[in-house]
C-alpha cells in the first residue's frame, strides 16, 4: 500500500510512488539518488540523516516519506547556489572542521537553521543546538569554530548589503 507524493527536493519538484511505511531516508537515498543524508543508527540517535523539512531540521530516518507530501525538503546537495558553496559549507572547509565527513551534511543543515534562528549565537547556544548530532572524529572544536565563523561572515555580508 502506498501513494504518489509530490514535494520540492532541493528546489526541484519531485513526484514519486512510495509505500506508506517507507522512510524518507531510504526514499531519498535509494529512489532519488540523494546520498548526503547518511544512515548512522536508524533510530534518531546520531543526526547523520538530518534534512531540512520546510526549513526545520528533521531526522529522515524517523520521518515517513508520505509525511513530506506537499512540503519542501533540502539536503546538503541543495545548499550551493549557482555552484557557489553556502557560507556554512565554506566555513566548515576553512576551519578544518571536516575529518571523515560522514556526519558533516547533518551538521551543516543544523547549523543553517541555528544561524537563521540566532544570527549571533554564543558558544553555549551552538553547543546546545548541535548536541543531537554526533561526531567521533573532531571533538567538535573546529565544528563550533566553523559555525562561529559562518555567523561572523553572515553578519559582515548583512552589513555590506545594508550599505549598498
Amino acid at each position: 500500500m502506498g501513494k504518489i507524493i509530490r514535494f520540492r527536493l532541493n528546489g526541484r519538484p519531485v513526484s514519486i510512488y512510495v509505500e506508506n511505511n517507507e522512510l524518507l531516508l531510504n526514499v531519498l537515498r535509494e529512489k532519488l539518488g540523494v546520498m548526503s543524508p547518511k544512515y548512522g543508527c536508524g533510530i534518531g540517535e546520531c543526526g547523520a540523516c538530518t534534512v531540512l523539512l520546510d526549513g526545520e531540521p528533521v531526522l529522515s530516518c524517523l520521518t515517513l516519506a508520505v509525511e513530506v507530501d506537499g512540503k519542501d525538503v533540502v539536503t546538503a546537495e541543495g545548499l550551493a547556489k549557482d555552484s557557489e558553496l553556502d557560507v556554512v559549507q565554506r566555513a566548515f572547509i576553512e576551519e578544518g572542521a571536516i575529518q571523515c565527513g560522514y556526519c558533516i551534511p547533518g551538521f551543516i543543515l543544523v547549523a543553517k537553521k541555528l544561524l537563521e534562528e540566532n544570527p549571533e549565537p554564543d558558544e553555549d547556544f551552538i553547543r546546545e543546538y548541535i548536541r543531537g548530532n554526533l561526531c567521533r572524529c573532531t571533538g567538535y572544536v573546529n565544528i563550533v569554530r566553523a559555525i562561529k565563523r559562518a555567523a561572523e561572515e553572515l553578519k559582515f555580508h548583512v552589513g555590506k548589503n545594508k550599505q549598498v
Partner: protein
C-alpha cells in the same frame, strides 16, 4: 635535496593552512562512501547471527528461506578454512581461528548463515525463516573464569602459521619477557608501588557501520567495495579464502566514515558478501545496522598488575607488568598486541629491570581489535597513574620525575614490540612539558584532597607517545611497507595513486603537500586518485599512525624520481643547459604551473606543463614513477596532556574544564588537521576515562546496551571544553628520518588522555580509581567510603 635547504628557505606548502582536497565533496554531500554504493541488479544480503554466546548447531533448515526465493549460505557452503581476518603479522606467527560462517558460534552475533534477496526486507524475512536446533553452552564472560580448568572450550584446534595447535584453558596466546633482575631491584629500591588496573571494553562508534558490496565478474573474479583501512590485505584474504587469483580480486578504495581501528582487519561481512555474490552470480550488498555493528568489534579489555620501584633521588629501578587481555571469541591481533603492549610499556620509561607476562584469553564476547592506540591508551593510563603516585611518594614534582626517566632522544625505542627497535632521534618532551605547565598553571594546582566545597577542581598530567608506523631495520614479525605511483600528465597536472587509506585525518592531503613541496609544482596540480588494488602497489594498512610518516616518505621519493626525469627532459628542451643539476623547479601560482629555471637567469625557463607536453608530442614517453618503500625507523610522536577537571561531589559528575594538548609530531604538515587529531583524541580519551564501556548480561551473553547509541553514549558537543579552553601546542622538532621532518600523530593524540584525567581527578578529590571508566557512581562511592564528601 633538500629537506634541509628547504627548511632554511621555508616551506611553500608544508605547515600552511590549505583547504582539504575532499572538502567540497564532503560539505556538498557528494562524497560517496561504501554505504552509498548501489549497483544495477544488486541483491541485498542479511546475516543470521547467533543469539547465544556459545552454542553448536545440531541441525539447520534453510528450506523455508529458499522457498521465498532467497539465496542462502551456511557453514556448509563456505570454504573449510581457518584464517585470521587481520593480515599484519608474518604468516608464520599468525594465529588463525576464524571461518566465514560457523556451526560453533562463540559470541552473540557470531555469523552462522546468510541470505541474499531482491529487497532488504525480503532478505530479513528469509533470515528469520531459517530454523536451527541448538546445543547451548554456559557462557564465559570473564577471562579469569575462562582460564579455569573444566570450562567449556571456546576453541579446540586452531592454526599457528600452517601448523595445527590445540587451545588449552581458553588461552589464545602468551608472551613473556624479562631483562635484568626485578626482584633484586625491588629489594634495593627506596619506594615500591604495586597496583592492579582494569580497563573498559569500548566500542569504536565510527559513524559509518560496516558495509560491503561484492560483484562477481564474468572471468570468475570479484570486485569489492567495502569499509576498510587496507584494500590490499582485504584482497589477499579474499584470494586466499576463496582460491581466486589475486589479479581477479579487485578491492576499491572509498572514503570511510570513521574507523579508529575497527576496519584494520577485513571485517567478516566482507567475506560473507563475497560468498553470497559468488553463489548468487549477482552483486550483493550487506549493510550492517548500528545494532549489528556494535556486535562486530570492540577494544581489548585489559587487566594489569603493575609494580614499579625507584630510588629516593627519583631514579626508576624496575617495572613489572602482568597483562591479562580479554580478547573475546576470536583472535584478530592478540599475539602482536602482547608484544606491542610490552613495547609501549618499556618505551614509556627507562625501567632498567623489566619483567613482563602477557596472556590473551578467549571469552564469549565480541572479538576485540585495535582501537586507536592498540593497547597504548590502556597501559599509558596505568603507567601514568603509577608514575604520579611514585612522584608523590618520593616528594618529587611529577614533571621532574617524568623528565628524569622517560625514553627520549638517543634512547632505544621499541614501541611496536621486541622485533621493531630503533633509536630516538627527535624529542620535544621537555619543551611540551615546560610550555604546557605554564599554560595550565601547573605550579598553582591544589594539593590533592585539600578542597572542601561541592565543586572541586584538579589538574592532571599524562604523557605518552605512539610510533610512526611499524618500520624497522630487520624484518621482524610485522609487515610494514607501502608504495605509490606518481605521474605527470601531458598538461603538467599530477596524478597521485596510492592504496593508502585516509580515514579523514588528512594523510593524503599531507602527501599532496609533500609532493608539491618536493616537486615544486602548485598544490592544486596534485590530484589524489581513489584507486583500487588492481591499479596500486602494496600498502599494508593505514594503522600505527604511519600514514604521514611512511606513506608521506614514499610520496616524497616518488616525487624525487619524477623530478629527475622532468629535469632531464628540460635539459634537452632548453638546449644549452649543461645537465639536470643546473636546474631548479618552483611553483608559479599565477601560471598555475611548476617552473623549471636556471638560477640567476630568469629567461632560461620552461614550465612543467610544457615539458610534459613536449615529452608527449615528441614521443619521449611518460614521466612517472613507482615506489615501494619500507621505513627503517618508527619514531615516537610524543604527546603531553594537561587537563583540568571539575568534580561535582554531590552527583559525582565530571567536567573537563580546560585542556592543553601538546604534540611532538616533528614538522607539522597540516596545522588545522593536526589540531583536529588532538581535539578528537581528547574527546575519545575523555569518553574512555569517564563514560564508555560495553558490559554484558551475565545470563544471556548479550551487550547490555543491545547495540543502541542511547545506551552506549559518546561525547556530544555539550560535554567538552569550550574552544578557548582547549589549547593545542606543537613542539618545534624535526625528525631526520621523516618526510620533511614529519612524524605520526593519530594515536598519540589519544594515548595519554585517560592518564591525565585520572591524575586530575586525584588532584581534585584525593581519590585514585583503578577501574575505567571512572563513572559518577564510582566517584560517589569512593568519596563516601573515604568520608570525603
Amino acid at each position: 635535496m633538500a629537506s634541509s635547504s628547504l627548511k632554511q628557505e621555508g616551506f611553500r606548502y608544508i605547515g600552511k593552512r590549505t583547504p582539504r582536497k575532499d572538502g567540497v565533496a564532503k560539505v556538498s554531500g557528494q562524497m560517496r562512501y561504501t554505504y552509498d554504493i548501489y549497483l544495477p541488479g544488486m541483491l541485498y544480503g542479511r546475516i543470521l547471527k547467533s543469539p547465544y554466546p556459545h552454542a553448536k548447531i545440531k541441525n539447520i533448515d534453510v528450506s523455508e528461506a529458499e522457498k521465498m526465493g532467497a539465496v542462502v549460505i551456511t557453514f556448509k557452503d563456505v570454504p573449510k578454512k581457518k584464517f585470521n581476518i587481520r593480515l599484519v603479522s608474518a604468516d608464520r606467527v599468525n594465529y588463525k581461528d576464524w571461518e566465514v560462517l560457523t556451526d560453533h558460534p562463540k559470541y552473540v552475533g557470531d555469523y552462522v548463515a546468510a541470505v541474499a534477496a531482491e529487497t532488504e526486507e525480503l532478505a530479513q524475512k528469509a533470515v528469520e525463516a531459517i530454523k536451527i536446533e541448538w546445543e547451548v553452552f554456559e557462557p564465559l564472560l570473564d577471562p579469569f573464569e575462562s582460564m579455569k580448568d573444566g570450562r567449556p572450550k571456546i576453541h579446540n584446534k586452531i592454526l599457528f602459521g600452517s601448523k595445527e595447535i590445540t587451545v588449552k584453558n581458553n588461552v589464545a596466546c602468551r608472551l613473556d619477557y624479562s631483562e635484568g633482575d626485578v626482584e633484586k631491584a625491588f629489594k634495593e629500591a627506596d619506594v615500591v608501588i604495586e597496583r592492579t588496573f582494569k580497563t573498559n571494553r569500548r566500542y569504536h562508534m565510527q559513524l559509518e557501520p560496516k558495509v560491503t558490496v561484492a560483484k562477481p565478474e564474468p572471468d570468475g573474479g570479484i570486485t569489492v567495495w567495502t569499509t576498510t583501512q587496507t584494500i590490499h590485505n582485504t584482497r589477499i584474504l579474499i584470494s586466499q579464502v576463496f582460491d581466486i587469483p589475486m589479479s581477479k580480486v579487485n578491492v576499491k578504495k572509498l572514503p570511510i566514515g570513521g574507523s579508529f581501528g575497527s576496519s584494520i582487519q577485513t571485517n567478516l561481512v566482507t567475506l560473507v558478501a563475497v560468498a553470497l555474490a559468488l553463489k548468487a552470480g549477482r552483486p550483493v550488498k550487506i549493510a550492517l545496522s548500528r545494532e549489528e555493528d556494535m556486535y562486530e568489534h570492540s577494544s581489548y579489555q585489559m587487566y594489569f598488575r603493575l609494580k614499579v620501584a625507584a630510588r629516593k633521588d627519583g631514579t626508576i629501578l624496575a617495572g613489572e607488568l602482568e597483562n591479562t587481555m580479554d580478547i573475546g571469541g576470536h583472535q584478530i591481533q592478540a599475539y602482536p598486541l602482547l608484544g606491542c603492549l610490552l613495547g609501549w610499556f618499556v618505551s614509556l620509561y627507562k625501567w632498567k629491570n623489566i619483567k613482563y607476562k602477557g596472556i590473551a584469553v578467549y571469552t564469549n564476547k565480541v572479538p576485540a581489535c585495535a582501537f586507536r592506540g592498540y593497547g597504548n591508551p590502556q597501559i599509558t593510563w596505568a603507567v601514568e597513574s603509577v608514575i604520579d603516585e611514585l612522584a608523590e611518594a618520593l616528594g618529587i614534582d611529577p614533571i621532574e620525575l617524568r623528565l628524569k626517566n622517560y625514553v627520549g632522544r638517543g634512547d632505544l625505542f621499541w614501541g611496536q614490540g621486541p622485533t621493531v627497535k630503533s633509536v630516538v632521534k627527535s624529542d620535544g618532551v621537555p619543551e611540551l612539558l615546560k610550555k604546557g605547565a605554564e599554560l595550565i598553571g601547573w605550579y598553582n594546582r591544589p594539593q590533592p584532597g585539600e578542597q572542601k566545597g561541592r565543586f572541586r577542581r584538579g589538574i592532571g598530567l599524562g604523557r605518552g607517545f605512539h610510533t610512526s608506523g611499524a618500520g624497522g631495520r630487520i624484518s621482524g614479525e610485522v609487515i610494514d611497507f607501502t608504495g605509490c605511483i606518481l605521474k605527470i600528465n601531458e598538461d603538467g597536472s599530477v596524478d597521485y595513486i596510492t592504496a593508502l587509506q585516509d580515514h579523514g585525518g588528512g594523510s593524503l592531503d599531507a602527501h599532496a603537500k609533500i609532493i608539491a613541496e618536493e616537486l615544486g609544482v602548485p598544490l592544486e596540480k596534485i590530484n589524489i586518485i581513489w584507486a583500487d588494488t588492481q591499479t596500486t602497489v602494496y600498502d599494508v594498512c593505514t594503522h600505527a599512525s604511519r600514514g604521514t610518516y611512511v606513506g608521506g616518505e614514499a610520496a616524497r621519493r616518488a616525487a624525487r624520481e619524477v623530478k629527475k626525469k622532468l629535469l632531464e627532459y628540460a635539459v634537452r628542451l632548453l638546449g644549452d643547459v649543461v645537465n639536470p643539476e643546473a636546474l631548479n623547479i618552483k611553483p608559479d601560482e599565477e601560471l598555475g604551473q611548476g617552473v623549471i629555471y636556471v638560477e640567476g637567469m630568469p629567461d632560461k625557463k620552461i614550465t612543467v606543463g610544457e615539458v610534459a607536453r613536449e615529452a608527449w608530442q615528441r614521443n619521449w614517453g611518460s614521466v612517472a614513477a613507482v615506489v615501494s618503500y619500507r621505513a627503517t625507523n618508527s619514531p615516537p610522536a610524543y604527546t603531553v596532556y594537561f587537563v583540568e577537571v571539575e568534580v561535582d561531589t554531590e552527583t559525582g559528575r565530571l567536567r573537563p574544564v580546560r585542556v592543553v594538548a601538546g604534540a611532538d609530531v616533528g614538522t607539522v604538515i597540516n596545522p588545522d588537521l593536526a589540531a583536529g587529531q588532538l581535539h578528537g583524541g581528547f574527546a575519545q580519551g575523555w569518553g574512555m576515562a569517564v563514560l564508555e564501556d560495553t558490559p554484558y548480561d551475565p545470563e544471556t551473553g548479550e551487550l547490555m546496551c543491545r547495540g543502541f547509541i542511547t545506551d552506549y553514549k559518546i561525547m556530544t558537543a555539550q560535554d567538552l571544553p569550550k574552544v578557548d579552553d582547549f589549547t593545542v601546542i606543537f613542539a618545534s622538532t624535526h625528525e631526520p628520518t621523516g618526510p620533511f621532518g614529519a612524524k605520526g600523530l593519530g594515536e598519540a593524540a589519544l594515548n595519554p588522555v585517560a592518564g591525565a584525567v585520572a591524575n586530575a581527578i586525584y588532584n581534585a578529590i584525593g581519590v585514585r580509581l583503578y577501574e575505567l571508566p571512572i563513572t559518577p557512581e564510582k566517584i560517589l562511592k569512593a568519596l563516601k567510603e573515604r568520608g570525603l564528601k
